[in-house]
Symmetry: C2
Subunit: 235 residues, 2 copies
DNA sequence: ATCCATCAACTGGTATACACTTTTTGTCGG
DNA sequence: CCGACAAAAAGTGTATACCAGTTGATGGAT
């Protein structure tokens, strides 16, 4: 053989495995809110929908269970995890601690290329915000914002820290939006905070960078006063 | 009627699943040092040794991979992860941050029963240390010490924090012993530090408790001076 | 009518068989 | 003797079949 005929899927580059496919698909369903808390995750149904067998589905569900997005109990149907206000507060508190630490480390380690990338990302976020409305912008914003934080986490050069931030401390956007302030209010502030974090990193000032990141995250934290009780049944 | 005849294994209480069995067995092999860094983890071989099929073995290996104890690459044999000095330092730094926070929270939340349990555990550790020699005591100490830290982590009432501490920041004892001070030196200090943490918790003083835990963990951290370069090729 | 036992359908748990990739090993040519 | 190539061996990835436990409905007894 010798001529490289990949005889099946023929995605020449990297045919990602079935479990990767399943994992990302299901994770996306949950994080975007297409599946809501309590929805049933039936292995057969998911297998049919995604087009693989039950085996990779099970591996994917186990990973999501470990990450806390899915609840699995023995012989019981898997369901999408429920996130209470307390859960949201806990996640943001831990993110503040760990991402603050990561930002502090990043301040003395981040490369010029990564700094330029961060500037680029923030510029894109602000540009798209101006050009598109809120609704059009939202999904793109989440992606750009995610990369912004991911670049900083990677620059901390602490692989376990990076992994924890990426896998154990995610909150579905639908839940986040329920508990946080409305987007119009929070995102204008977010841009200013991102710029401050960037300035602190460029100044190579760990304490400032950490404090700015902490301020950013705590500002997103649901107002701890238990005033928000709107159980919208809408939709 | 339904008399409760469990018709197979007959462990009346909770017959733990095959993947639980496999997970704990393999994890134990790694944490105790029975398997060393770089050792191959062959699914068939493990399946035969543990007495289950490959399926639960694969689930167990995936969990251990997520925890960082095992390295899996597609189509490649799994191996026991390698922990460099840098890895050990990283783990202890993150443990200090997170377990310090947990201890701070625990100070205002821990129950009287848990406090008594901690006293009991510390008393046992010291008693067994006096009665048995070092070698006899070691495995028992690890177990008691593990529970000591686990009780505090649980008392913080932050389930994600507890899970991260229990799953993502473990270091195999064999590696720990290679990088840390000799047991005789470190454990006498450990007892004093445990007593101080306990005192701070009983005093309900979060700052003191956090600082004491931080001191405890940083004292176990390998001496950051890069003096230890012994690449033993022995065995 | 309500409650409980029982049973059937459903769902998850495990084992096994097959497909694809890597790794090893043996052979040939230099 | 060494390196490149090729075929066989070994190992992982996925699919499927089968087993075990749960769930919920059904029917009878109270």
């Amino acid at each position: 053989m010798t001529n490289e005929t990949t005889r099946d899927g023929a995605k020449d580059g990297a045919t990602q495995s079935a479990v990767e496919t399943a994992y990302h698909r299901i994770r996306h369903l949950i994080l975007t809110g297409e599946m809501r808390s309590g929805d049933k995750l039936l292995e057969n149904q998911l297998a049919a929908a995604i087009g693989v067998s039950r085996t990779p589905i099970r591996e994917a569900l186990n990973r999501l269970n470990a990450e806390g997005l899915v609840v699995l109990e023995r012989y019981r149907r898997g369901i999408v995890a429920d996130f209470s206000l307390d859960d949201a507060v806990e996640i943001f508190r831990l993110r503040a601690i760990l991402e603050g630490h990561a930002t502090s480390r990043a301040a003395t380690r981040i490369s010029q290329a990564d700094l330029r990338r961060l500037e680029e990302l923030e510029r894109l976020m602000e540009t798209q915000f101006e050009e598109l409305g809120w609704n059009e912008h939202l999904e793109g914003f989440d992606k750009l914002n995610g990369e912004f934080h991911a670049v900083i986490a990677a620059a901390a050069e602490s692989p376990r820290l990076e992994k924890i931030l990426a896998s154990s401390l995610e909150l579905p956007a639908s839940i986040f939006n329920r508990y946080s302030e409305p987007v119009e209010v929070r995102t204008r502030r977010t841009h200013a905070q991102h710029r401050e974090i960037l300035a602190a990193l460029k100044a190579r000032n760990p304490e400032w960078a950490q404090a700015a990141m902490n301020a950013h995250l705590f500002s997103l934290l649901p107002s701890a006063s238990g005033s928000l009780e709107h159980e919208d049944g809408a939709e």
